[in-house]
Amino acid sequence: MPTESEWEQATQRLIDLTESGQLKWEVNAHIKSQRENVEGDVYLANVQGRFIAVYEYKYQYYDEESSSGTSGWEMRNEVAIEFVDAIGVLQYRWPAVPGRWRLLDAIRCLVSGAQAFLKTFLTQPAGKEGVW
């Protein structure tokens, strides 16, 4: 069995490849429709012939000292990294390594075009920002 440290390394590799633009992620509405409580989009990439899906989701969490009401149940957010097959069926869920949130953030930054926006927006001369 692979160790958690190996999965952490693999996650870091995905972050590096995403940030350097070497890895392409696409929004996949089909997988989103198959999962519950997904927040935002499900992102899919093909890495060495394997499909990797990354997404944020909400789940119920019990905390006796919860500040949200008296029931003790509250909603929390988590990130899933999964190997899926060609039609989005879960094959293997990666362990919840610390880098998972950074990976999702890197993917969102890339897919949303945030980096490209900043590049052009900050280099444009003042008064030509095209604000409406």
């Binding site: 958690e4 019990y62 006796e64 149940w73 869920r93 919840a96």
Partner: protein, 150 residues
């Protein structure tokens, strides 16, 4: 003078006896109050602890499914603290089973080898289900007893 001495001694002995009887009565009253208090706390606290344990068990199950070691450790510790807080209200075989489960949870928390850790976590969860069922039975018993008393 002699008769005064005798009466004095009798009075002392009588006083001593009264004090002893008073002390016994006080101890019995305190013992009864303590038992009533304990029974009251048992009836008031155990249902809420049972509910909390169920919640923490669901958290633990989810943390195991998502292979989140940090969350698993946190939930194991929470379950252990909750079970330990029930010790005072349990007796005999039931208490023994709770103590063993608390030990199993502590043992799982200390494991560093990954495969062994996850196997022990599954075992600990299974034990927790047993403890929760036991707690449910105890709460029902208390409810019936309280209905009978009323």
């Amino acid at each position: 003078m002699d008769s005064l001495n005798i009466w004095g001694s009798v009075a002392s002995i009588a006083g001593l006896l009264v004090s002893i009887v008073g002390l016994i009565i006080t101890i019995r009253v305190l013992w009864r109050v303590r038992n009533i208090e304990k029974a009251f706390l048992k009836q008031a606290l155990l249902p809420s602890r049972m509910k909390a344990l169920q919640g923490y068990m669901r958290n633990l199950e989810r943390a195991i499914t998502t292979k989140n070691r940090q969350s698993v450790l946190q939930e194991l510790e929470r379950c252990r603290a909750l079970i330990k807080a029930c010790f005072d209200y349990l007796e005999g075989h039931r208490r023994e089973s709770f103590e063993q489960t608390a030990q199993a949870l502590e043992h799982a928390c200390q494991l560093s080898a990954e495969n062994e850790f996850w196997t022990e976590c599954e075992r600990a969860l299974s034990r927790l289900h047993g403890v929760h069922e036991d707690l449910k039975t105890l709460v029902k018993e208390l409810e019936w007893r309280s209905k009978d008393a009323n």
